[in-house]
């Protein structure tokens, strides 16, 4: 059996950047890729489940992405995952919608029948916060989103979910299940240089949508019209008056925003 961890090589954009000529993304020379922060917590959660003896299974990483995504997979392998699968096909768009990524990952998962699927709660770049839960829906597996704590037993998993304002919900899920984890659930380990070198030497499995039997063109994905640098927010709204008048206005704003 398998614990599957779906990860993403997220794009980090330089402070100064330009848009690509087609107007649909940041120009690639201003972008670097790295393992999504949330996903590193998901990898760590899988490793800890195995180390605690709760789930002694092969840990497999899966991602949808081009060759530049391999470094993120290798980062997860260096942490201790056993092997990695990359799904790609040059016909796929550079920026995938949330449904397409989930559908492809679900197809990989379906072939493995994992006992648990872990994802980060969101990606740092697109930040849909949707892939894990959509993946669970495609697999028709129970799921919990934004998980802060988890404990695993053979037929059920108990999790603590983070809700608004720090409120927590404790849930029990039937397994297999899909969890999306929040940062802070653990402390992701740092790989040693030796582990990094070993990860570099590993073969990665490559597959494509056709082999998985998925045609993402059939998915009802929203269509990217354009990207742009948002207009610089106008200067601050200046509050005038005596200190007490200013204070009264500030109190109003604070109370309104905190209630929102």
């Amino acid at each position: 059996m398998t614990v599957l961890v779906a990860i993403k090589a997220v794009a980090t954009v330089d402070e100064e950047f330009e848009l690509a000529d087609d107007g649909l993304d940041v120009a690639p020379e201003f972008v670097e890729r790295e393992l999504n922060e949330w996903d590193s917590y998901a990898v760590e959660a899988a490793l800890r489940l195995r180390e605690s003896g709760a789930l002694d299974e092969e840990i497999v990483l899966v991602t949808v992405g081009d060759e530049d995504a391999e470094e993120a997979l290798r980062a997860g392998l260096a942490m201790g995952a056993d092997r990695a699968v990359r799904v790609w096909d040059d016909s796929l768009p550079g920026v995938l919608g949330p449904l397409a990524a989930a559908r492809l990952l679900a197809a990989v998962a379906a072939e493995m029948s994992p006992s648990l699927v872990l994802c980060g709660a969101q990606s740092a770049d697109a930040a849909y916060g949707a892939t894990g839960v959509a993946l669970a829906a495609y697999l028709k597996l129970p799921h919990a989103a934004v998980v802060r704590e988890l404990s695993y037993s053979a037929d059920a998993i108990e999790v603590t979910r983070e809700l608004e304002g720090g409120l927590l919900q404790r849930l029990r899920l039937r397994t297999p299940a899909v969890l999306t984890v929040q940062t802070g659930i653990n402390e992701p380990r740092y790989a040693t240089l030796r582990a990094i070198k070993q990860a570099e030497a590993k073969e990665l499995d490559l597959t494509d949508p056709a082999s998985l039997g998925v045609a993402i063109g059939d998915l009802p994905e929203a269509v990217l019209d354009r990207v742009y640098v948002p207009a610089v927010e106008g200067a601050a709204e200046m509050l005038e008056g005596t200190p007490d008048e200013v204070a009264a206005r500030i109190a109003e704003v604070v109370e309104r925003e905190m209630a929102a």
Binding site: E32, Y190, T192, L193, R194, I196, K197
Partner: protein, 705 residues
Amino acid sequence: MMTRGEAPADGPYAVLFEPVEVGPVTLRNRFYATPQCSGFGADRPHAQAYHRAMKAAGGFAVVHTEWCAIHPEADEWPAVTGRLWDEDDARNLGLMVEMVHAEGALAGVQLGFNGAHSENLETRRPARGITQVPSNTFHFHSCYEMTEAEIVELQGFYVEAALRAREVGFDVINVCANENAGIPLQFLMRAYNRRDDRYGGPFENRARFLLELLERLRGALGDSCALTVRLAVETHHDGDLGMRPEHEARRVIEMADDLVDLWDLEVTGRSMAEWGESAGPSRFHREGYQLAAVEKARSATAKPVVNVGRFVHPEAMVDAVRRGVIDLVGMARPGIADPFLPTKIRENRVDEIRECIGCNICISRYEQKATIVCTQNATIGEEYRRGWNPERFEPAADADRDVLVIGAGPAGMECALVLARRGMRRVHLVDRERELGGHLRWVTQLPGLGEWARVVDYRKIALAKLRNATFVPGTELSAADVLEYGAELVVVANGSSWARDGLNGFDHAPIRGADASLPHVLVPEQVMVEGKPVPDGPVLVYDCEGYYMAASLAERLAREGREVTFVTPFAEVAPYMDYTLEAIGMNRLLRGLGVALVPQHRVAEVAAGAVRGHHVHDEAADVEWPVAATVLCTQRVSDAHLFRTLEADPEGLEQAGIEGLYRIGDCFVPRIAAESVFEGHRLGREIDSPDPSEPLGFPRERLLV
């Protein structure tokens, strides 16, 4: 990318890049590198020139020499100063002028003559002074009282030195009238001037020397150079003995304004020894601390004004300029910590500035008659002899190697940073703590030392931007772990800790009864990090080190309301702080807090409830201090175990594929943080040398026979 000298069109800091006219010359921006000691003096002309030129390359509009003695009667040796005694001295300084000009900046020279404060130990000349009163700074040293003819002759020395400086191309001629040092200032102050002739008595007479001097300099120089005065506007004397910004300073500025192209105004102390008021350490003075005094004198002049004040934040600079207090931002120490500070502001790379921490270690080396160093900038003073540029790093020849640096204190952080900048494949900086900084994490929690955290901040920000550098927190590595880690190069930088048994350099042995596992015996880490309670009652702090640790802990405990006795074998409290100009202030502070200061005493035995000791020169003069707790600051002990274990296992290293094993910082020898940073930097720069553990040689500027 902007080219040098080009101002940003707009943005919050644009005002700092406006050109400023100073008499006949135009400064390209408002960044003004004031005269500053380097330790290179007249004997190291190459080091002198390369050092100054780096600031010019970094974007300063004008770069000054250090204080230059105008005549053999102003001989400060063995203190190291510039000299303009003759044409040969001038020619050597000409190299600096040439290099500064090549970087698009102007070159300034400071003309100095210290009167009674010049010991003339090399020239063996009697010192000439205003009134025959001994120096309050140098022991057993006096002067002769000049006749009026000798005063006129002295003015001539200035003119001749200025002409020598102009001859080699200096653009700005600055007259030193500050820090109790410049004799023109001494003439102004009743504290030095007890004459009753044309040069003494009423203020007009006391100002005569400076006015005549400026007239003669102006006459000789014409409009070929800018003529400036560095004037102390506040000397902290009682009443009218010295300079007060709203009185004497304003008057002399008004009287001389037509003769001067710029005023460099500053605050100083009552004696030359108190120039820590001019070069204020962060322990006592915040950024821009002189502005209040300068503002009082500012409106007396129509000429541009410059003032120092350890400015590092562009917001503070812009504010001082906008408020009209200063026209030019004067900097010595901030430009040492980062010669490229102006360029980084201009290019909006403010987060890349190595901000001065105000530790005054740069000044300590001048005071120790050595060449300049800096805690933040390991390359300072190494511009010529090691060829280091703080912003330029060559790719390492062995850049395909992975490096493990153990310990993220000053040495480890700096080494990792340099290695990452040199393009090593991967650099892992591992520390057992959660945060970067090593001992600075807690040292910066000592009272007054908060700004020292900038050493960590700069490196934290810089490392975060380097993709080949990784900080691995919360990880303690054993020797076996190191072998397993997978690095080809291993740098051990795991620091030191305070002796827990009182081991010290006075006894060359531990102290009887000193055992920090007992409740009443503590060491600094226990107080600051481990949270070990200090038992209620009087506390004795024992200092055998002489720098900041014991004094700062005494301050902290006294501020907590403890009755504190400070015992030290040294002749005075915290003597190393003499070098950093903090000693006078620290003594005042501890006295003010009610700390009992007991210099010249050794501790012989620590017991529960009492500490026994004696005078350093009289063992029979024994003393007992009834105290509830003792804090031992006797010496630091290197954490050498890890390095020694690895070093003793050459086979293990070879099997692990470790090609190089090095140690830097306090785990080698506990020293000041500046030396740890330097060692880390040096190793990083020389990691691809034939034997990186052995520093490469450097050229020495000596005469060969």
